[in-house]
């Protein structure tokens, strides 16, 4: 995206950035509260309920980080953002960490100065159409009106897809998922495109979900993950290893219910012991205490529990694990070992 010379300049300047923005951990601890950047409302991922309490898949990751850092999963201040404002909010220091169905891309990493945490949801951009239109493939969409959230990678993928396949379309840009929903259901557009998980989540909120189909084509890779600002490696490590710990916890069979039990004394499995703090000094390596992972798991459960509770097959969103199963179950979730 940008010239080599520019990249070199960035590298040279990152030292300044480090001094300017280090110590997010200290700020958060002093504040006693984590500022977490989320979306303004995507069912299953992040949304306020009737009483204004936030819940969802992304929200749970925020709570896990808060539990690990300040000791309480409820000590989170949610900063709702649109696709447009999310990075500036993070970069301005208003948010400490971002969990907002955000795709990891090279330009966001290098040019927007974000460090991406491990992927917590493997996604891809799909299309949803009313079944009444009788469309079975995205290639049949010639001339369709497509609702699309601005400021997202989906906007760019869409332009590329239609260009490559040499078919025309009318983009209908909207700001938020809620607006997209209103426009799509209102019939302003024939197709709604966003990440497949988002489509499933949106479809689940419809009066008659059966009347809408998600087309088989996935036109992009969308590895969704959390992100932090460049320049604070300690804080980046905390985010990274909290996510890894939640994924590893599922692999190791540690759940919200049995975590405290398993942590009481060192068991036979050294991996479990290292994760739960009964063996080694892993917490202090990232500036936390030994129980960081335990608190995170106790607050929100392991990856599988988070998934099932918010977006799993038994919820209204009804997403299958698919790619997001553990590597041992045929998925590609593969947490780096804690050792």
């Amino acid at each position: 995206m940008r010239s080599i010379k520019y990249a070199a300049a960035v590298a040279a300047l990152s030292a300044t950035a480090l001094s300017a923005q280090a110590a997010t951990l200290d700020d958060v601890k002093a504040r006693g509260e984590l500022n977490c950047v989320v979306s303004t409302g995507v069912a299953g991922f992040a949304f306020p309920d009737d009483s204004g309490k936030w819940s969802g898949f992304d929200v749970d990751f925020c709570r896990a980080v808060a539990a690990a850092v300040v000791g309480d999963g409820q000590k989170v201040k949610f900063v709702p953002t649109t696709g447009k404002t999310r990075f500036t909010v993070l970069n301005s220091g208003e948010g400490d960490i971002l969990f907002r169905n955000t795709t990891e891309t090279m330009s966001r990493d290098a040019d927007l100065k974000l460090s991406f945490l491990p992927v917590n949801y493997y996604d891809g951009q799909g299309f949803m159409v009313p079944t009444a239109l009788g469309v079975t493939s995205a290639k049949d969409l010639d001339g369709a009106s497509v609702c699309i959230q601005t400021g997202t990678t989906t906007e760019l993928n869409l332009a590329d897809f239609f260009r490559i396949n040499n078919i025309s379309y009318e983009p209908v840009p909207v700001e938020t998922n809620a607006e997209a929903q209103t426009n799509y259901l209102g019939g302003r557009c024939d197709v709604y495109t966003t990440d497949a998980s988002g489509l499933a989540s949106t479809r689940s909120t419809f009066e008659n979900p059966d009347e809408h189909a998600i087309l088989p084509e996935i036109i992009s890779k969308e590895p969704l993950g959390g992100a932090v600002r460049h320049g604070d490696d300690q804080w980046f490590d905390i985010g990274k290893w909290v996510v890894n710990a939640l994924i590893a916890a599922e692999e190791l069979g540690i759940t919200q219910a049995n975590a405290a039990e398993m942590a009481k004394e060192a068991g036979d499995n050294p991996s479990v012991n290292r994760l739960l703090g009964s063996e080694g000094e892993f917490g202090s390596m990232i500036g936390l205490d030994g129980q960081w992972a335990l608190r995170a798991i106790e607050a929100v459960g392991n990856y599988g529990e988070i998934f099932d509770r918010n977006i799993g097959p038994d919820t209204a969103i009804a997403l299958q694990r698919g790619l997001n199963a553990q590597w041992s179950d045929g998925g590609i979730l593969y947490a780096a070992p804690i050792r």
């Binding site: 009106s145 601005t150 590329d160």
Partner: protein
């Protein structure tokens, strides 16, 4: 508004110390105050620039407009004749945005002026019912934020219009549905010719009407014979060009919108986003203009009308020669600020996805490139330019119609 201290006062107190003497001298004091203000201003801007440089460096971002020539990677639905696609550079996206902003601003100004004058007249009408209806309308519209109007009109349009397949049609030529109003357009080269022809004729008509008006004035001064100058001129620079252009267009090929697949193809389309923004802005601003017009007309004292009628000037001429010119003097200055408001409020397009400046360069481009500073500078500079142009035009018009003081 001068801080006057009588000079003799200072002179009478020579024994005071130097500081107090300097402070009490008007000239020196104003110089000192200004120097201090200047220093403070420079410090303020200097520190802002320094901070911006430091912060941008810390983030590793430079300050350069070179991103404008890289591919934008996104599509825009309303292109207004620009050859734009996702490979075009950001600068072209900006140009498309500018034309979209100008389109909605100009059409909004026209519609709101027409509606506003109608409302103003209705407010003065003797008919109690229409008077009150206009009043209720004005009060409702003025007291609700324009953003809400835009969202509401857009929501109503999208929800109440039929789907493309059930389009309402007028003589199988115009089609109205959720995707917009589809209408036939002249085939490609002819539309351009027609526009050129129209504006050429308008220009010729304006030149003609200028000389005709002077000639008619001379004749009237010499012989007292009056010509209906206004109507003849209106015919010359508006009606005639329209007639000729329409005539020309009737003989060229037309492209019909046709339902193909999901949508209508061919012809032109007015999208619901444009309609919503245009209508909402016009309805909103018309309420303000209505009140301005009412105030302007009531400001012309009744005696003027009576005097004019007493002189035997017919009612129509009284209105056009006595009342309206005087009312315009009161109306034009506040009207200018309403026109400015409509232009600035068009930036709310972003709420419903109309691709104006704020949504293209200030929205998607800003977001995809992360160049907040550069993009916002461009956006603000553009709006400032528009505001300046409108003010200049209206000031020129105002100086033309204002009272000539002798």
């Amino acid at each position: 508004m001068s801080e006057q201290t009588v000079d003799s006062y200072t002179a009478a107190a020579p024994q005071r110390n130097v500081v107090s003497r300097i402070w009490n001298d008007k000239q020196t004091r104003s110089v000192i105050v200004q120097i201090i203000a200047l220093i403070l201003l420079l410090l303020f801007f200097g520190s802002m620039v320094r901070n911006a440089i430091a912060n941008l460096e810390a983030l590793g971002k430079g300050f350069s407009f070179s991103f404008l020539s890289t591919a934008s990677n996104y599509d825009i639905n309303q292109k207004l004749g620009w050859e734009y696609d996702s490979r075009s550079p950001h600068i072209k996206a900006t140009l498309v945005g500018i034309s979209n902003t100008l389109l909605v601003a100009v059409s909004g100004i026209i519609l709101s002026t027409v509606l506003g004058f109608i409302l103003g007249v209705l407010r003065l009408s003797k008919n109690w019912l229409t008077n009150k209806l206009a009043h209720v309308y004005i009060e409702y519209v003025r007291n609700v934020p324009v953003l809400l109007h835009i969202l509401l009109v857009h929501g109503i349009l999208v929800h109440s219009l039929p789907a493309p397949r059930e389009s309402k049609d007028l003589a199988e030529t115009f089609f109205l549905n959720k995707r917009g109003l589809f209408l036939p357009t002249p085939e490609t080269p002819f539309l351009g010719y027609a526009i050129l022809l129209f504006f050429g004729l308008v220009l010729a008509g304006l030149v003609f009407s200028y000389f005709f008006k002077r000639w008619a004035q001379r004749i009237q001064d010499e012989t007292g014979v009056g010509y209906p100058v206004f109507w003849i001129n209106l015919f010359a620079y508006l009606v005639l060009p329209i007639l000729v252009t329409v005539g020309f267009l009737l003989f060229v090929g037309w492209e019909q919108p046709e339902l193909k697949g999901f949508n209508f193809r061919g012809g032109g389309v007015i999208r619901p986003e444009f309609m919503a923004l245009w209508l909402a802005l016009s309805f909103y601003t018309a309420a303000f203009i209505g009140e301005i017009v009412r105030a302007g007309i009531t400001a012309v004292s009744k005696g003027q009308t009576e005097a004019s009628l007493a002189l035997g000037i017919p009612r129509g001429k009284t209105l056009s020669l006595v009342v309206i010119p005087q009312a315009l003097r009161v109306i034009v200055p506040p009207l200018t600020s309403q026109y400015l408001n409509i232009t600035k409020n068009s930036s709310l397009a972003i709420a419903i996805g109309y691709m104006d400046i704020t949504a293209t360069i200030g929205g998607i481009s800003l977001n995809q490139t992360g160049r907040e500073m550069e993009c916002m500078i461009i956006v603000m500079a553009l709006y400032l330019t528009f505001s300046l142009l409108i003010s200049m035009f209206m000031n020129w018009y105002n100086s033309r119609i204002k009272l000539v003081e002798r």
